[in-house]
Symmetry: none
Subunit: 207 residues, 4 copies
DNA sequence: AGATAACCGAGACGGTACGTCTCGTCTTGAT
DNA sequence: ATCAAGACGAGACGTACCGTCTCGGTTATCT
């Protein structure tokens, strides 16, 4: 996960190699600083100090605060997995609760919206977020649908293009609702709320 | 709209009054700077210059960048109105399209997510956003429901607490989905998408 | 002395005026740092701290380390005066001793040669040194000659151009010898040495 | 020129015996960098690159920038020789002109004063300069005096201590005047100036 | 009419973080 | 057993904004 961020291996690699530990220490320090200070008061100099690393080492690997925070936050989403609770509704509730739990972490709350905001004016950053964070979640929607189709809870798709649009719609609805509930309304996305939300969503889709 | 931001308490006010034009010029300059520079590169000194105003004047009226941008962006949402298109579905589609149109404006895209991100660590800012931006939209949900009930499209609620929860859920789903579609997925929330979304939503609610 | 360095008075002066105390504090701090650290280890950030001033204040007034050190060192030469000891030889000995005493100060030793070295590649800096340091000394040569002519120790010049060349030669010989003795040979330019030097010089000129 | 070293014989032992040529390449690169960049902008990393050498190799042989530049500049003074022009005055004029010619080289101008400045706070550096640069010149004064005594232009010395003091005085006067003329007054030490200077000096000494 | 009070522009101030540069040291792999 | 290549911790650089503080001057209302 860390290794493939700055990978370019032009056949030979001369000189002292980059420290692998530094990457881990920097990302951990970034999350720590996000918790304590939040996005806007986080400084790269402070992160470097926390990681026991020189500022130059940090700039050698990341282009700036945005890229660093995306990587640091993205690791939090590695834990997401689609649980097998026996029914589509239960599976969805499970994964939405996991998603909500991550968004409840201060290191995610502080950083995620900020980089999304920055990404509105930075195509490369938007792509990095999509690759590191969003696609990792969208995969779960695809898995869930496949499993529900295997169970017979959902019919098989006929038009693949329309199916892709539906996946996108579901994803925007799920992620959007949880994010808005958590960060804008500032209310917890607890079990009760997730159950209500899932019921509406499934009933809406179950045409 | 502008006047009530800096509340007047002590009945009488001696001395030279604050320039009303300055407020409007500053907010307009803020939006202009948001479009050109985006949130993170926007500086209060630059806004002051654009508005033809001294930095001091700006700080006298707003506590900082966050508060200023909230006010500047909030004005954009003044235009939101619940259209009367004859049916609940059409009304919702209309208002969601309006909302999507505002989020498509660069001055909103740049600023809104950023202040929401800041608000995760600033209760007062969160309250200001709620008052200036969110409640202004939530009102539309309430109006829509009342109108649909009058039309007979929806039954009258019995439990007011449960009704409030439903309104909150709808609001998080609508706003969240549009925001996510627009800012994270970076796809336009166009008529087609809005129609699909509204269908799912209404069918999900129409239990 | 300080005031005329950054003087520009475009009729009106708007805004808060620059602090006069800051100039003095900065120059004193510069000399202090020169004594403790020497030119190459002197940093503008450290000077600012010593002076109780922000780095920006320093950069607002001086273009860089070189200009600052020239001004700081130049003040040391304000003390130079041509003594009236009754004879040309005694006058010269007196002023050379004063000059040697200044060059014996660590703040002058450290800084002066360094800025001269820098000036070999910076015409503006060379001009600044000439104006602030060199001309202040050359004036003494002119006064000394005038006084000696009044005394009858020297004949009046006939060709003013040739006279100017002689003044330049004398100046390069005096300043050069003292500087070389002090800074390169690293021997004190004490009374005995000054007497020997003055004897050779006067006898060489007394054609 | 540097590249040829790589084609050298494999030899029996591992490792490459290029050290002697590396020295020359580094010193030449140093002078080249002095001409292009001047003392203060010269960096050891840049010198290493120009010499086609690793920074490590450079630090293995010199303690730092000062020592390197002293050695690089010192080589320039190897060319100094006492000409035999038939008379003391002519000999002195010749050698002073040579000295002035070296000081007119940008690699000497940039570097020499700077290391002298550094040497004011570094006894070891001062000693290195004396050994590499100063004594090489002072030798010429001694030779010149011996030759003049052989010619009968100067009487033999009686008191050796007083004679040493005189040599030092002459040396400070000659070197100081030329350096000051060249670097501070920034005027060329051309033939006319050298003639005037030599006349004053010799007449001053010829008591 | 004059006083009083709060406003206004301009811009200097003490700070803080930026992102870059160079330092001198320390691994690496290749020769 | 050296070398080039280059990453490393350290720390100064000069710049940009921050939010505050004088300045001299300008409106307003309240005597």
């Amino acid at each position: 996960m860390v290794g493939d961020m700055h990978s370019r291996s032009p056949a030979v690699r001369s000189g002292r190699p980059r420290s692998a530990e530094a990457d881990a220490a920097i990302l951990a320090a970034t999350r720590e600083a996000l918790v304590e200070l939040g996005w806007s008061k986080l400084t790269l100099g402070d992160v470097a100090t926390r990681a026991g690393v020189a500022k130059t080492t940090l700039y050698r690997r990341w282009a700036g605060k945005n890229e660093l925070v995306v990587d640091a936050v993205a690791e939090l989403f590695d834990a997401l997995e689609l649980p097998d609770c026996g029914s589509l509704a239960a599976d969805i509730e499970g994964v939405v609760l996991q998603f909500a739990a991550i968004l409840a972490l201060p290191e995610a709350r502080s950083g995620l919206m900020a980089v999304v905001a920055e990404a509105t004016r930075d195509e490369a950053l938007r792509e990095r977020i999509r690759a590191s964070v969003v696609d990792r979640q969208k995969r779960l929607v695809l898995e869930g649908r496949a499993r529900a189709q295997a169970r017979g809870e959902l019919p098989a798709e006929e038009d693949p293009e329309s199916a892709a649009r539906t996946v996108d719609l579901i994803f925007d609805m799920v992620a959007g609702a949880v994010v808005h509930r958590t960060l804008v309304s500032a209310e917890p996305a607890d079990e009760e709320w997730v159950r209500s939300f899932t019921r509406v969503l499934l009933q809406g889709l179950g045409s």
